[in-house]
């Protein structure tokens, strides 16, 4: 099974709000030297890919669109166990919206050769548009199942558990297909071994420009975005917490009184 996992490198999304600053010019988060990580659900996607590969045979490629810094995300992917990695990086990609990014991913995947399975995170840790996976599936002309908690091979098909409001659904799909992956106890990302981190750090990572993947610059960049980010601001938050003091019995008694005053119980 040939699997491609799309990895996005982002600023650590678990940083506390107090350290979050906006760059008003670019309308993006100020990097300020904060750690760069693989967007969390992409690591779950990679873990699933490695498990599927290890069950039988196969080949896992990690693919990213980004700046040269994203090489470190791909190296981590290799250290976790990916067989191959490629970065698509080109100044023309700057300012691209989801359609530009998805077009680049689609061309990169074509260059790698036809996959059986493409995995994306269900949503990124920064913009969380939730659309790269579905748009990429359209661009590749393959079926797509979103918000998948687990997936397995089943008689030449893939069975995917899609989380919905009421519970979950099991969908069966014949490859090639694309899944967007949710975190689940079955896909907790493995920690790479020190030895594998060392080996990965010496691995050359292919870096492709738009011309390397055969994508015209007219499909990407700020000039062709279909929406525009007009403004990025900090939400207003006022702290208003009333702490209930005392021993547990007293705290509970105060809580009950307050909740009855508010008529919520």
């Amino acid at each position: 099974m040939r699997i491609v996992v799309c990895l996005k490198q982002i600023i650590d999304p678990e940083l506390p709000s107090s350290q979050f600053k906006i760059d008003p010019g670019s309308k993006r988060q100020q990097p300020n030297g904060h750690p760069l990580v693989i967007s969390p659900y992409d690591e779950n996607a990679l873990e699933l890919a490695l498990q599927l590969r290890d069950q039988t045979a196969g080949h896992v490629t990690v693919l990213s669109v980004g700046q040269s810094s994203a090489v470190s995300a791909l190296r981590k992917g290799v250290a976790m166990g990916a067989d191959e990695a490629a970065l698509i990086s080109d100044p023309a990609l700057e300012g691209s919206d989801a359609f530009g990014i998805a077009a680049a991913l689609a061309q990169g995947i074509q260059k790698l050769g036809p996959p059986d399975l493409v995995l994306c995170g269900c949503e990124s840790g920064d913009w969380a548009d939730r659309i790269i996976g579905p748009i990429l599936a359209e661009a590749l002309g393959i079926p797509c199942v979103t918000y998948v908690a687990r997936a397995e091979k089943h008689n030449g098909h893939v069975r995917a558990q899609r989380v919905v409001e009421e519970g979950y659904e099991i969908w069966e799909v014949t490859p090639p297909l694309l899944l967007t992956i949710l975190s689940h106890e079955s896909n907790v990302p493995r920690y790479p071994k020190v030895k594998d981190i060392m080996t990965a750090s010496r691995r050359p990572i292919s870096t492709w420009s738009l011309s390397d993947i055969g994508l015209d610059t007219g499909h990407v960049g700020n000039a062709v975005t279909r929406v525009e980010i007009q403004e990025l601001t900090l939400p207003t938050r006022e702290s208003r917490c009333e702490f209930l003091e005392g021993e547990p019995g007293g705290q509970v008694a105060s809580l009950i009184t307050k909740l009855r005053e508010k008529k919520v119980i």
Binding site: I135, E172, P235, P248, L259, V264
Partner: protein
């Protein structure tokens, strides 16, 4: 042609809750844009139910293959309707359906898309649209303007007020032909499984009690279920608790999980990451129980108890039980 198009669903003789929220969003901008509200229906739901909320035109694809949800077939029908109606805005729910279809629809219509919208405004003189959404896990708010039309927008669930009935109105129904064929379905449903712990739907519950990593294990949730039963509420969780496999994913509250808007939200052993808080902005009263007085959850809570949940919950359950006379 213009118009604000809502992808509608009627179930058991009423528009679904998410449809009413979409209609609420549509009503908010219809006057400013001076454009009508239109809707799409798949299957046989009664269009009059939508006219009563001010919908002027209903586009319908009625086909036996649309009875059960299947992404590719629903998308083909929706694409057909979109091309026929040629609206200015297409509103879809930001739930599992919108997450499945919105991006693909925008791709096919070669147009712009904004997801998880929490507010929409119309510029009074220019009549241009502006969407508001969260970004960076709720740490920032983005204002987004469309450059291509029809713009597809998904509305974050439980964020827009449901539409009010507009009184007795009639409208026009336009049948739309969609030549569907089972072979166009790239995925096949094997099984659909419902998960519920207290019999009350999390999204609808007036009381929600959620647990996080601080519960230390799945057993901690037994106390939450007990309290929820007494208060006729539902149990939710943080991502850390679902990731650990303590509770099913459908119980997760937050950016990836569900948005809830109860009168009372009790967060137990949850640190209050912005991605969790993104799911509870509609809660009227938030109570936090956490051992760490510095936990971020106390920045959004109205009432806070610094303490171990194992010491707090048993007396709380006992007192609530006395109150409800159980």
């Amino acid at each position: 042609m213009g118009g604000i198009f809502v992808f509608a669903k009627v179930e058991n003789g009423v528009p679904s809750r998410s449809t009413l929220e979409l209609l609420g969003g549509a009503q908010k901008i219809a006057a400013g844009l001076e454009e009508p509200v239109t809707a799409g229906l798949l299957g046989q739901g009664d269009a009059a139910l939508l006219y009563a909320y001010g919908v002027e035109t209903v586009y319908r694809v009625d086909h036996p293959l649309l009875k059960e949800y299947q992404a590719d077939l629903h998308l083909l029908a929706l694409e057909r309707i979109g091309r026929t109606a040629e609206p200015r805005v297409i509103l879809l729910p930001g739930d599992s359906l919108g997450r499945d279809l919105a991006g693909r629809l925008a791709f096919r219509l070669q147009t712009g898309i904004v997801t998880e919208v929490i507010d929409i405004d119309v510029h009074p003189s220019e009549k241009s649209l502006r969407f508001t959404r969260q970004a960076y896990g709720g740490k920032a708010i983005a204002a987004i303007v469309p450059k291509a039309f029809p713009v597809v927008a998904t509305l974050k669930p439980r964020t827009f007020d449901p539409a009010a009935r507009a009184g007795d109105r009639t409208g026009t129904e336009i049948p739309v032909e969609a030549p569907l064929d089972g072979a166009q379905a790239g995925t096949r449903l094997v099984e659909r499984v419902q998960e519920e712990t207290t019999g009350v739907k999390l999204e609808d519950a007036q009381v929600v009690i959620s647990g996080g990593r601080g519960l230390g294990g799945p057993e901690g949730f037994d106390l939450l279920v007990e309290l929820a039963r007494v208060l006729k509420g539902a149990v939710g969780s943080s991502r850390a608790a679902t990731d650990a496999g303590w509770v099913p994913s459908s119980m997760q509250v937050g950016q990836t999980g569900k948005t809830v808007s109860p009168d009372l939200y009790i967060a137990v052993g949850i640190s209050g990451a912005t991605q969790h808080v993104a799911g509870i902005s509609g809660a009227k009263t938030i109570v936090a129980i956490n051992t760490d007085p510095e936990a971020s959850i106390f920045k959004v809570a109205h009432l806070g108890i610094v303490g171990d949940y194992k010491a707090i919950l048993p007396p709380l359950i006992a007192r609530c039980r006395e109150l409800v006379g159980g």
